[in-house]
Each structure stands twice: as C-alpha cells, then as structure tokens.
Amino acid sequence: MPARHVLFVLRHAPYDGAAAWEALDAMLVTGVFDQQVSALFLDDAVWQLLPDQQADRIGRRNVGKALTALPDYGIEQLFVSSSALAQRGIDAKGLAVPVTLVSETEAASLIQRQDVVLSG
C-alpha cells in the first residue's frame, strides 16, 4: 500500500491543555509507520515554535524542545502561517526547528492535497 499524505493542522498554544503534546505524539507514530507526514502551524500553534521555553517552571514537558525531534523521525515538512507569525510579532528566524513559511492560499492548497487531515 502506498504511503498516504497525512497533514496535522496544529492550532493550540504549547501548554493549552494536552493538545500540543498529543498531536506531536500522533505525528511521531505516524512518521514511524512511514507515511508522508507534514504539519501546518496556524493561529496560537506558532507559539510552540519559540526557542526558549522553560516548561519545567510550570511542571510540564518542553514542547519547543520536543519539536526538534521531528526531523529524526523523518518529519521535515513543517509549514507555518506567515500571517500567524506576523500578528504575534514573531521573527521566522531563530525558531526552535526549521520551517517553511506559507501564505493562506498556499496553506489552503496544502490541505486540499492530503489523503488525511488531523487537527491538534
């Protein structure tokens, strides 16, 4: 069976419930199963990409650091809404992990090309 294109549309801040972690876990396992995994960071999910998170201050695991493991699992297609970054005054340089900026139109056509889209 050919690998399927699975996109994770991420919209939650890193410590907004367990959503960011549980999406990340699902992405890693999907990568292990040799599917074509990509991720799209929208809205408050761009906060996940900040480099200097100190999650231990609130007794949680560090989401920014965990994202750096994605390339090791073959997940390198990380897309980020450039308008979501701009609205929050976040510079695309110096994020926790290398990403590709996309416009709203590019994000929409990325969604359209998928076999499966999961939200997290």
């Binding site: 367990a18 549980e22 876990d25 199963f33 599917q35 499966v116 999961l118």
Partner: protein, 130 residues
C-alpha cells in the same frame, strides 16, 4: 467505503462521543464499513465504567458498547492519553500498583499504532473533537 472515526471529547462534557455515535449509526445504515473507532485525548474518558450519566441524559458509553458488539467494531483507547487522565484497565492498574481498573471491558486499551493503522486503511477519516 471504509470509515475510521477518531473521538477527542469526553461524554457529558462534550458532544463528541454522542455525535460520533449518531454518525456511526448513519454510516453503517448506509452500508459503509467501520472496523475501529479510536478514542484519543479526553475521548478516552468515554470508556470510564464508573461514569454515572445525569438523569435524562443518554448513557453514551453503553450505547457505544452495544453498537460495537452488534457490528463487530473495535473500540480502541489510546493508552498514553488514558493513563494521564486516570483511565486504566486491570492489567495497567496492576502494573502501576493501583487497586483496580475503571475501563469498561468493551473497550481495548492500546497504542497510537492502532490509530495510524486506521488512517492507512480507511477511505475516510472523520474526527469528532471536544
């Protein structure tokens, strides 16, 4: 068509397990195949056998168990999501030295691999969020 459903919300607190149940019934009625439903995030709490539904509200857990038995659907619950929400079966309870489990026997506690297996296999994947 082969369908795969993922449920992310808890019963009585979100509509997700109830909406997914209504969808599943309609899909089966339309002749579609549904071999597995995956319970993730707060959706894992659907399997909590200690839940006492409020009066006048339906018993979503029991309704899922009944549908699953009638149509041979696997009710798969993500173990990592379940443990941190305090949902265990007897085996996990004994491994973690807890007095006993609270998962209803109609549900199988399993890994995320089963989620991916569903994604690979299905013609359509429908997510029911909180």
């Amino acid at each position: 068509m082969k369908y795969s459903l993922i449920i992310y919300g808890a019963p009585h607190v979100s509509q997700a397990p109830a909406s997914a149940l209504a969808f599943a019934r309609a899909a089966l009625e339309a002749g579609h195949e549904l071999r597995r439903v995956f319970f993730y995030a707060d959706g894992t709490l659907t399997a909590n056998a200690l839940t006492i539904p409020p009066e006048d509200e339906s018993d979503v857990m029991q309704d899922w168990a009944t549908l699953a038995q009638a149509h041979d659907i696997e009710l798969a619950v993500c173990i990592a999501a379940a443990l941190k929400r305090g949902l265990l079966n007897a085996e996990e309870a004994s491994r973690h030295e807890k007095s006993g489990g609270n998962a209803h026997p109609a549900f199988v506690i399993t890994g995320l691999g089963q989620l991916v297996d569903s994604l690979i296999d299905a013609d359509r994947v429908i997510s029911f969020h909180a």
